[in-house]
Assembly symmetry: none
């Protein structure tokens, strides 16, 4: 059984000129992926008939299912319907069901149907109508030589309703689709190439129907294992067995699976252990606190945070020793240790997390260059520090430091901090 291949075509000048972000095609891809249909290409073209027709012809050569969004509005620059009629050599005529649904939609909203809207109920004779329950442009389903062309509106909520209620069930039935499974392994604290080095033997020994991809972002790498087969249970067992072999090699970097965030994993650990947290941030300026509190329910474990941006505030509000600041400076291991320990007291929390550094782009010295950042974790039993040497991009440094601090916290909570 071969896998069904799909192509997505998005139509609209506004997409080409960067005026609108195309979120539809990501959503459609993910939905097709779940039913084992593999998207092999996405194409965006403008409101130009010749380019739309070329895109149809190219897609039909490569794929079996062609899903089209956009270009179905009532104005003259909407060309998808006439292009499909031409491509399938089909006359267009008024579709009684489409007219009935359109009239009903307009009546329910208290509007009268205009002539321009009425034209939206005209469809190519060779297509099957797909009802649009949320808008005025019906979708179209064409079949030819075991290939399918589906046209849907570009308005996201209309398209999604149509996909869920009608297009996905039809595709599953039409192609009797195979099984694809994905498992995402979320890591932090290790770069892509170091990670690849650690697991290369495992990766090279994967059976050919399992494939690994590295998806890196700042200080984090997601590993995606994809499997294809016919028996879903067997495939998932096989993947679970491979992941069970992988995990011990990278245990201290794996904080979760399938899209979990570091901050939600931390929240889960803190709740499980009934521990509370407080933050003292200098160079990150509140970003660690903001990331922790981005999780709904974080008030159960986050007592609060302090951003003592001036040295005197570090002394007055956080009781950092004046002598420490004088001798070692605000950006020092000694200072972040005091900050992490003292912020626990200030907020009556079990754990303190702190940051201090030179976020840049200016403000560095020879001894303390831009990008030098210290972070610390303290829980009353132990204090762990980490030194980072980052670049000169202020916002990137803030984000990287936040991830490093959260990773340090997560490692300490889960006692995976044997190696710094």
């Amino acid at each position: 059984m071969s896998q069904v291949l799909a192509e997505l075509i998005s139509i609209g000048d506004e997409l080409l000129y960067g005026q609108i972000l195309d979120t539809n095609s990501q959503w459609i891809s993910a939905e097709l992926d779940k039913i084992g249909v593999k998207v092999v290409r996405k194409t965006t073209v403008g409101d130009v008939a010749s380019e739309i027709l070329t895109a149809f012809a190219e897609a039909e050569k490569r794929a079996e299912a062609i899903l089209i969004t956009g270009g179905l509005g009532p104005t003259n620059d909407d060309l998808t319907k006439p292009c499909l009629a031409e491509y399938f050599d089909s006359p267009i005529s008024l579709h009684p069901t489409a007219l009935k649904e359109l009239t009903h939609l307009f009546e329910s909203r208290g509007f009268t149907l205009t002539e321009r809207n009425r034209e939206q109920a005209e469809l190519p004779d060779k297509c099957t109508m797909i009802s649009n329950r949320l808008g005025s442009a019906p979708g179209m389903w064409f079949e030819r030589d075991k290939k399918v062309f589906v046209s849907m509106p570009g308005v996201p909520h209309e398209m999604k309703e149509m996909m869920n209620s009608q297009v996905i069930p039809r595709i599953k039935e039409f192609y009797n689709t195979p099984t694809i499974a994905h498992k995402m392994i979320m890591t932090a604290g290790i770069g892509e190439s170091w990670l690849a080095d650690k697991i290369k033997d495992w990766e090279n020994n994967l059976p050919s129907h399992l494939k690994l991809a590295y998806l890196p972002s700042l200080m984090k790498v997601r590993l995606r294992l994809t499997g294809m087969g016919s028996d879903k249970t067997k495939l998932e067992q096989e993947m679970a067995a491979e992941i069970a072999k992988l995990l011990p090699m990278i245990d201290k970097f794996v904080y979760g699976f399938d899209g979990e965030t570091l901050e939600s994993a931390i929240g889960r650990e803190l709740v499980d252990r009934q521990l509370t947290l407080a933050t003292a941030e200098s160079c990150t300026g509140g970003h660690i606190a903001q990331t922790i509190t981005s999780i709904a329910g974080s008030s159960r474990y986050f007592n609060g945070g302090l951003v003592p941006y001036q040295n005197e505030m570090k002394e007055q509000l956080l009781n950092v020793n004046a002598a420490t600041l004088k001798k070692h400076g605000a950006v020092s291991e000694e200072t972040v240790i005091e900050m992490a320990n003292n912020v626990r007291q200030v907020f009556n929390a079990d754990i303190g997390l702190s940051s201090s550094g030179i976020a840049g782009p200016g403000g560095g010295t020879k001894e303390k260059p831009v990008g030098l950042i210290w972070i610390a974790y303290a829980d009353g039993h132990q204090t762990i520090t980490k030194k980072l040497q980052l670049g000169d991009q202020r916002l990137i440094n803030v984000q990287r430091t936040t991830t490093a601090a959260l990773h340090l916290l997560w490692q300490s909570l889960t006692q995976k901090n044997g190696e710094k």
Copy 2:
């Protein structure tokens, strides 16, 4: 002079499977639009050499500039470099400058170069290297028959730096692109349709070679005036004259020009007036402080911030009256007034800014629904509060509240707060 046509090619299985949203191609489209280069097609293909090569060949037939993102990582599924070498029939060899820059990058971060990383400094002989100042994969610039292929990393901040510093200037020079001038007018505190109503007469009277676009984001609208012509000085004078007519109509919403942020405008005003600021945040969890400190040099005017996430912390650290909290609750006008006034004392600052609300998605009551948020400004002479009723999206609420609080601060600083 005909318009330069461009195509964008995004490479990566993760884009086809819907695991990553492609924001790069929208950003690139918008940047090319600014210099008068017209994107005619966007294509996304997976990590498969034959499909990448086909996409190159198709794009070269239709466009003059082909901009490629992704597929430049150090792992085996990254195929862009070998594909470009094959397409341009070029051997690959170690590029001394690339190696030098890569070594420097690694040293500056305290890492040793691995063999796998070292391979990233190998480039096709026929390309010109594009420096990657923020990451390990250099970009590549190929020229053939007046056509250009540019390859950049898929990591957004690396790609953007490369585009701004090197690719855009090169494209402008290579194609001698026409004169296009842009002026961006940054507004906050007014919705798109209200803004459009206020300025519709002015907009309708613009000469045909000047075009206005509304670029809305959360609580902000950027107005972009674009002019096309042959004489740059004349064009800019004409645009300045139109903007001089526009400004009095929307004075209290305009906080800056050309990409200035609200936080940088605030920084400028605070420095000019020699005033200092402190923040007390509940529902925004540190986001206001983090936004203020995202500006380099903010330590000159930002004394610090407090995130008293628990009621007892509001009492103990911020001296909010227990009776106020008991009678009116943490989410109330009375509480944010005390928070804004008291945080000035705690951090010895001229101005205090505070927030308290129900960020959601849960936690609302009938009297205080999810999305109810209070903010306050206090400077010792006056206290100004504002009530927001937002939706149930936690992160969006945090961002909107931050913008509203910064706008309140900016209006108060510049005494443009006559109307709330």
